[in-house]
Amino acid sequence: MLAAAAGCASPAPTRTRARVAVVGGGYGGATAAKYLRILDPSIDVVLVEPRAAFVACPGSNLVIGGFRTLADITTPYDGLERSHGVRLVHDRATAIDAARREVRLARGAAIPFDRAIVAPGVDPMWDEIPALRDPAVRAQVPVAWEAGPQTLELRRRLEAMRDGGTLVIAIPESPFRCAPAPYERACQAAAYFKRAKPRSKIVIADANGEIASEAGLFHRAWSELYAGMIDYRPNSRAVDVDVATGTVELELEDVKGDVLNVLPPVKAASIANPFITANGRWCEVDWLTYESVAARGVHILGDALQHAPVMAKSGHMANAQAKVCAAAVVALLRGEVPNPSPTLTNACYTWFSDQLAAHVATVHKYDTAERTMKVVPGAGGVSPMMNEADARYAAEWARNIAWDSFA
């Protein structure tokens, strides 16, 4: 059309630039936007993200423990624009219309796309803890499952708590974002209590029958580093909370605390509702392209996915998925066949104190018979024990994954 308008001067009809809209600027969305531009700078890439900067969940428990500041775990988005030509739109997506191929926004004009990549993260299922449906209650019971102001609010409440007080952490049934995180949080709070208010206690009410990740390492940390401080109660699902009396209501008993951290179950964030196909909570995709099984042209990444076996809901995994997805989207836009043999890796680091950490690592490849990602037998593993070397690598991992995702 441009060629026609310009008369006979153009030698061939000019094809409009392909447009990709990326919704959500976490590890998944930001990485997808960056790698799309690296792989094909001719693609017009828009990243829709309401926040001005990214605040990492990894490391946020160290903020709660008092060993990091929020600034330490915050990365600006401007590197994506400056270094890679990603167009940043700081607005909230209100709908992803797969039929009209546009992302609608709270304030700005709708963004048209040839393909969309949705990295929505997770939303809490407030109905599972009814009192938390009230934002006024939530202000007093900070969930802090998304790093930011709530992380600081939980920290502030631990600082204000008396020595001899009790922190109650209630953990939902897995899967949820970052399986080791609630147990790591208990470690970080314990590290703070041990130093500043050693008569304090932590009650962990876990809906699961056992610690949901690295169980042996956590039990050992609790007995060796924080002896007598942590009361772990498996098969103890929280059903509600009463702020007035400081009570977490479990299925079989009540637990009182001075600071309550009740984590509700999570699901794919609501912007992805049209693409939720599993258990009313998660989005299923083609593991070669991350295209939704529910909508052509819409690709989904990260914690919102119905995961493959042994696949973590982690920032590292979302980053790895994003690169496979970006390459597949570039191929599809060119009419080429996507990589039939994708590989994913994952490394999750857990901090047991401010000095000791451990990791879980996996390598995943594509199983052609079952059309899913599976771990490579013999590869991957867990640290044999918490140690200082893993803590150094955990800090370096955090720095470099932020660099790979946002700069």
């Binding site: 690169k323 390598v363 991957g380 070397a389």
Partner: protein, 127 residues
């Protein structure tokens, strides 16, 4: 962590393994990964330039985009390194000849051909 009994691991159905969670709790690790209930049938490796680039992208979370780490990081750069050195390092990690926290575990996920291709890829990147 305690080593699992063979009875424990063999009783695990794939569907029961809802996440790394259940897997690691029930089976222990890392030997759990060697005893997958159904042997996977992996797609043959893609060693085309695009395939190797995609493979190499899995190194970037720790070693930086295209093997160039973040400023100030003490993790080793991969870009511009000698291909033989890189390949040998990965082979040593994989064989357990070189001590590591995580690279010995991750290197076991790659074949000889993939390791050679990765080494060539990073050697060809500018520092």
């Amino acid at each position: 962590m305690l080593a699992p009994s063979s009875a424990e691991t063999s009783s695990i159905e794939p569907r029961a393994v809802r996440s790394i969670v259940g897997w690691l709790v029930l089976a222990g690790a890392p030997c759990a990964f060697a005893q997958s209930p159904s042997a996977p049938r992996f797609a043959p490796p893609n060693l085309t330039p695009a395939g190797v680039r995609a493979l190499a992208a899995n190194c970037a979370q720790c070693h930086g985009t295209d093997g160039r780490p973040a400023p100030g990081s003490v993790l080793p750069a991969l870009a511009g390194r000698d291909a033989r050195d890189l390949a040998q390092a990965l082979l040593d990690f994989r064989a357990g000849r070189a001590r590591a926290t995580v690279m010995d575990q991750l290197a076991k996920g790659y074949s000889d051909a993939e390791i050679a291709a990765l080494a060539d890829y990073f050697a060809a990147r500018g520092r």
